[in-house]
């Protein structure tokens, strides 16, 4: 359905948009986000629950 709407210009924009990440792949980005969040959660638990 959208193929009709995808002008070359749109396509270029879309590629540019996908390149807007410091990570080489979506999987790396997701994994890093997950690890960062787990570390944050651990630290928050440490300072708000376990050490108080």
């Amino acid at each position: 359905m959208s193929e009709n709407n995808t002008t070359p210009e749109n396509g270029a924009d879309a590629n540019e948009e996908r390149a807007l990440s410091v990570f080489s792949s979506e999987r790396n980005e997701d994994l890093t986000a997950l690890i960062f969040c787990l570390i944050t959660t651990f630290l928050v638990l440490l300072f708000t629950k376990w050490l108080v």
């Binding site: 749109n10 410091v22 928050v44 708000t48």
Partner: protein, 542 residues
């Protein structure tokens, strides 16, 4: 330092942050902060400014001395540093200055306009963040030193979605009957499929349709952010979706209470309808309060219906991942959809939701970190003065207008100095908790009746009961802190998102998303109105 000139803006930001942190630390800004209502965040402001300022300065100095490289340290710290700090400074300015200022200004304009602009237009950090990003990009443009940093926005938004899981708990879902969960699920999935169908009908891009369907079906901003990477949505499409949801919500906020009253809905029915039909949680709360400001039952039901939708997020992500894959011509089997296509960050949301439900952060029955604790505790007692006030009022017969259960709850409050179960039953935790909670509900009823002026109580008595009720409402520091992180992640990500929205991309999207949003939103509102009237009776909460 051969490259110092290139990194001068970053150095200036680092120095400014340190200077700001030091100024706040002296207390020189305390009066301003009190005026803005941000004085409670003073320690955080000092800590964040000094740590970030120090890191920025150190990073900028390294950048000034060495040639850009391709190591991990270069790619993930040195290169994005300038942009990341610029966005963070903007986020700080918005959260600590602009947002409170907008609230104060709209409150002072209320007598003239008759409503609070920030509530109606939902001018919180979400909208202000996107707007700030859009304004910067379309006026000055993104400065060269910040380009790499803006690329971190999507990554940080994902962290925000993961953190969102910590706010909810399975026990909250269990409060609703299976019946209500089916009802919510039907509307969530129904709306998603309807928007997908409309997108097909109006020949809209798949990414736009996908992200709008999640936004309209689940609940606004968080769903939009969570689904965007799955359907490869562009920043403009995300912004359009958020804009559509919020504008539709503004209209609903005014219309829903009036229609609800005209149709003679009871508080629970209206709560269920508003929680299903309106998308943004702030707008749901506003509509529920507009319908019934005295009895908090409406608000509670509306909020529970609203948050339960968030828990459908993983299902919607799977549905949209399958749909997007199929539309792109991929052959999909069960393994590809559930294992390969399932985004890891949504798994993170589920992990935090699981931790939250298991009671790691707070008692499992919490809602956004708030929970009720009616166990014996010296700290939850009313003060001696308050006890005297209640005792005297009882002796003077001030509570004569109360019903039998309310009277029993007040008598017990006087006897035990706090809201709790029966002392003799303290070993049966479930029963003790049930009796304590029932007493709390009765006391809330007393306050509601006093507010509605069906009974007359002195201000001191009301304040004593209010304090007793407040004492058993607790807040988990862990969930509050995790929520704070979530807000910062969203603020950062949304400013970055705004920076990727250019005038050109807005005109390219045209007005179709709004048309699709309006059609699907109205259909959902009308259908849920009849379904709620027909199916939802007075008791939906277990």
């Amino acid at each position: 330092m051969p490259r110092a000139k290139d990194h001068m803006p970053t150095i200036i930001m680092g120095v400014s942050l340190i200077v700001y942190g030091l100024i706040v630390n002296t207390g020189a800004l305390l009066a301003t902060m009190k005026y803005l209502g941000t004085h409670k965040s003073m320690d955080l402001q000092v800590l964040m400014s000094l740590i970030l300022g120090g890191l920025t300065l150190a990073g900028a100095l390294i950048n000034s001395m060495k040639e850009p490289g391709d190591s991990l340290f270069d790619r993930f710290f040195l290169q994005p540093l300038g942009g990341v700090i610029m966005i963070l400074v903007m986020a700080m300015a918005i959260r600590w200055y602009l947002e409170p200022l907008v609230k104060i200004m709209s409150t002072s304009l209320q007598p003239v306009l008759g409503f609070k602009i920030y509530k109606v237009l939902n001018l919180n950090y979400v909208v202000l963040g996107i707007l700030a990003g859009v304004v910067l990009t379309n006026t000055y443009g993104i400065p060269k030193f910040a380009e790499a940093g803006v690329k971190c926005a999507r990554f940080v938004l994902k962290m925000g979605v993961i953190m969102l899981g910590a706010r909810y708990s399975f026990a909250e879902l269990a409060k609703l009957g299976v019946y209500s969960v089916w009802l919510i699920g039907f509307f969530v999935l129904g709306t998603v499929f309807m928007v997908l169908w409309l997108g097909n009908l109006f020949k809209q891009p798949k990414s736009m349709t996908g992200v709008l369907s999640a936004g309209m079906g689940v609940c606004g901003v968080s769903a939009t952010v969570a689904v965007a990477p799955v359907v490869k949505a562009k920043s403009t499409e995300m912004a359009y979706t958020i804009g559509t949801i919020l504008s539709f919500g503004i209209i609903c906020m005014f219309i829903f209470p009036t229609i609800g009253k005209l149709a003679g809905m009871n508080p629970v029915q209206f709560g269920a309808w508003a929680g299903t039909g309106i998308l943004n949680s702030a707008q749901v709360a506003a509509a529920a309060l507009a319908f019934n400001a005295v009895d908090i039952k409406t608000l509670k039901v509306a909020e529970i219906f609203n948050i339960t939708r968030v828990l459908f997020l993983p299902i919607i992500v799977l549905v949209l991942a399958t749909w997007f894959g199929k539309e792109s011509g991929q052959k999909l089997n069960f393994k590809t959809v559930v294992i390969d296509k399932f985004p890891i960050f949504i798994l993170g949301f589920l992990i935090l939701f699981g931790m939250s439900s298991s009671g790691l952060f707070s008692p499992p029955s919490h809602y956004k970190g708030k929970y009720i604790d009616v166990s014996y505790n010296d700290r939850t007692q009313v003060t001696n003065e308050e006890w005297e006030v209640l005792n005297k009022a009882m002796a003077a017969g001030e509570f004569s207008g109360l019903n039998a259960e309310q009277m029993e709850a007040v008598k017990d409050l006087i006897a035990q100095h706090q809201i709790a179960g029966n002392y003799d039953e303290r070993n049966d935790k479930a029963l003790f908790d049930k009796v304590g909670r029932a007493r709390m509900t009765q006391l809330e009823g007393v306050l509601a009746a006093a507010k509605a002026k069906t009974i007359t109580l002195s201000a001191d008595v009301k304040s004593a009961i209010k304090h007793a009720v407040k004492q058993v409402h607790k807040k988990s520091k862990t969930v509050v802190t995790l929520t704070d992180f979530m807000i910062w992640f969203f603020a950062f990500g949304l400013i970055g998102l705004g920076m990727q929205i250019t005038k050109k991309s807005i005109t390219q999207a045209g007005g179709w998303p709004i048309v699709m949003g309006a059609i699907s939103g109205t259909t959902k509102a009308v259908l849920s109105f009849f379904v709620v009237l027909w199916l939802v009776k007075d008791v939906v909460l277990n």
